[in-house]
Symmetry: C2
Subunit: 221 residues, 2 copies
């Protein structure tokens, strides 16, 4: 990082997508400023100007230039500040990592949302779907410590922030992740011991209360 | 490419996702074998084994090792065979390209499908949504010849195969792309003059007939 580099995140405390960016910056040892967005009260002009298409967090502003979409931002951080590589060094390893990142992006948050933003049969179906996703991730992890092997890396950074929401999924879906995916469950504990992760992730109980508040607002409880 | 390298695509003629991979290989001048899948009659054992999660084409088999998901495969091809770079060389350019690739992946095919796989008001809404997507792409293109600037590259390879389906969208949605996005329309013509694209893309009339056949099978006509 050049001495004059300015790194700002347009952030939201409970967003697993924002947490990815913050963990990546921690892993690189980069100083940055977090600008918390008021997603319910009104988004900032800077957010709307920086991300006119999706109008959502996170945005990384690197010397005022916006980089968008969390998996893309983590990749950009890795390519821009090359110390402590997050992505695998070989093309095939990168392709495998990007496959799982894409899978996580398509499945984890939306399936999880279908658990906590529903009731009755819809929630039961969503819970079964989520357990299928967990089993696929369990198999991808296999006997490895991290998704990429021995070292904490790209796929771990993309996946672990979702774990702050898992308490809410478990309570509302009435299941335990460790009963269905014990290796994945052990991987969560392993990641949470890491300083970058522990520093960034919100308290799952606080996320659960946020979810309950959201459910009330939406008339689900 | 090493002399002994074997490159096989598990392919389907009408798939814009498969076409991306074929165009990228043409751009790199790489010899490859296409194995056409019978998606309606029964997928091959090789496809099910290579892509157990999604069970879909394209799959790139590079010396029998599977690489999955078309945007990821094009990126892998570019990183593995470095002559004639498809992605921008600077990290910020790559981040911008990946943003638009993600946007295209999320919006173009699914919104297009909502036009041709529906009727009545649902189709009208889908057509309006599709025109919004076109306008965003028109703005991203701006006054440039290609999405990345002067040279045909990553975003162009991801986007142009969808154009083989545009005749079907236009006929069923009753609109003309050039009326809403003239620069994007000129970009399509520019790309179609390129040998790699002309060689790979199917005839839009044949795709339109395929869509009509599909609509009949689904009881939409």
């Amino acid at each position: 990082m050049s001495k004059g580099d300015k790194v700002v995140i347009l952030d939201f405390w409970a967003s697993p997508f924002c947490a990815r960016v913050k963990i990546a910056l921690e892993e690189k040892g980069l100083k940055h400023e977090n600008s918390e967005e008021d997603l319910f009260g009104g988004k900032s002009e800077l957010l709307l100007k920086s991300n006119p298409i999706h109008q959502r967090v996170p945005v990384l502003l690197h010397n005022d230039k916006p980089v968008l979409e969390s998996a893309n931002i983590v990749s950009y951080i890795d390519e821009t500040w090359s110390s402590n590589s997050l992505l695998p060094t070989c093309a095939y390893g990168r392709a495998q990592a990007r496959f799982w990142v894409d899978y996580i992006d398509k499945k984890v948050f939306d399936t999880g949302r279908s658990i906590w933003a529903s009731n009755g049969e819809e929630r039961e179906v969503a819970t079964r779907d989520f357990i299928e996703v967990l089993k696929n991730l369990e198999e991808a992890l296999g006997e490895k410590d991290y998704f990429g092997g021995d070292a904490f890396g790209y796929v771990d950074i993309i996946a672990i922030p979702h774990s702050a929401w898992f308490l809410a999924y478990e309570k509302l879906g009435d299941f335990k992740i460790k009963d269905h995916a014990p290796k994945f469950s052990a991987w969560i504990k392993r990641c949470l011991q890491r300083q970058s992760v522990a520093k960034v992730l919100p308290d799952p109980e606080k996320v659960y209360q946020f979810v309950l508040h959201f459910r009330k607002m939406e008339g689900l409880d």
